[in-house]
Homo-oligomer: 257 residues x 2
């Protein structure tokens, strides 16, 4: 299975520590990786067919402190679709003059939504198909980019539909907010003042966040497995949607609630 | 003004030599750079607000021999639009399940095409506006991805329209071919057997292509200025469109011809 990492901060923050934790898991996830950093409305989007433990692109990302308010990363173990660049997450499209970035953990069985809109998959993953369908339906629901609350309401109606076909742990962002949908396994952690130290679960690496932050900083991290020990990683309920903006969860919607 | 670099080869080829030549010019072009590499239907797309002479991303591109059949690169000196990531070329969108990559040298004065289709600019450059308009019109002209000849015919009708508003030296690709449109300054060079050595015009760097190629290799390079000395860089006529596929020009269309 793949691994997801999402980050939302209220001030541009680097994810080198968390990405190192994610890349440590890449030893068994050798079929590509990708990471997207929002910067204002622009996106830096890095993908590689090589695993994150070998890729020179991943090496650069670990060393180069790109600061961002919203980050989505993915490391891939191919289940559906060949090991090809066009199958690497996160996927990116433009809608309403905003870039949208999407990454998925899980499989969707027999998922063949009708794609009659402006978004077509380039590769052959069920994930990209679901992303295209989501954007197509968003484009029908709103004429221009709506507020985060309205987008969240529409996403609450849309996300259960692909999710009904299998496992649909998902990270989605357009730079305004980070939407995280849990299906079988997704966790988030809130970091805020007073910051403490954290140790990566898979590596002998610690960071003292207090040394790198101000009291006003807030950072939320989402991942398919807790990346650190000694922090309170909160599991998502099946079907739960959490919306992160300004470095914290601004809404939590349980399935059917 | 910005600088463009395009490459089309009949076998995956690295552009480190040409990109080094382009980056040498980045000393005065410090407002961002970008480079896109097609790999099958996928694209590696690197952009940075930093100039190519300082950017860690450009450093990685120079050291890491990414091999590709089609490459489009751009170094930017801001004329229209702020120095922001969303204004960095090349721009990328998806149409008909293919990624499209576009870079532009020049200014378009008072260019405000009607954008009523599925493509909206994220940044505020005239270039991205022209790209969105081109894709909107291509989407109207064909229901699915047509053959290169048909696309070229449509592009010959479309390209003069933004070009009428100013300077429109352009590189465009969807992975099938590289389209190069000259307005005021664009050159291409053909490299094929027997390969010779070339020396970068701006750097004390030479490469003996014969040592890195087989007799069957063919490579075409397009740039806003000849990058090497001792090679036959052929200028584009105003309004000329050259179509490159399989490492060579497969069509040349003069304006009005």
């Amino acid at each position: 299975m793949c691994q997801l990492l999402g980050m939302n901060a209220n001030t541009p923050t680097d994810v080198m520590f968390s990405f190192t934790g994610l890349a440590a898991r890449a030893r068994e996830h050798k079929d590509g990786f990708g990471i997207a950093f929002f910067e204002d409305r622009g996106v830096r989007h890095f993908i590689d067919r090589d695993g994150a433990s070998h890729s020179p692109v991943a090496e650069m990302v670990k060393r180069y402190p790109i600061k961002s308010e919203i980050v989505i990363a993915h490391i891939r173990k191919a289940t559906v679709g060949a090991v090809a660049l066009q199958n690497c997450h996160p996927f990116m499209r433009e809608l309403w003059g905003r870039y949208w970035v999407f990454a998925h953990n899980g499989d969707l069985k027999g998922y063949a939504p009708r794609l009659h809109g402006a978004f077509r998959p380039v590769g052959d993953t069920d994930s990209e198909r679901a992303f295209c369908w989501l954007l197509q339906e968003l484009a029908k629901a709103h004429a221009a980019v709506p507020r985060v609350e309205e987008l969240s309401r529409t996403l609450r109606e849309l996300l259960p539909q692909p999710a009904a076909h299998g496992t649909f742990n998902v990270l989605l962002s357009n730079g305004q907010a980070l939407w995280a949908h849990g299906s079988t396994r997704l966790y988030s952690v809130q970091r805020r003042h007073p910051f403490t130290a954290a140790t990566l679960a898979d590596e002998d690496l610690s960071v003292d966040f207090a040394a790198h932050t101000t009291p006003r900083d807030r950072v939320a991290v989402v991942a398919t497995e807790p990346l650190t020990v000694g922090e309170d990683w909160e599991p998502f309920a099946p079907g739960e949607l959490r919306v992160f903006a300004g470095g914290e969860a601004v809404a939590r919607h349980r399935a059917g609630a």
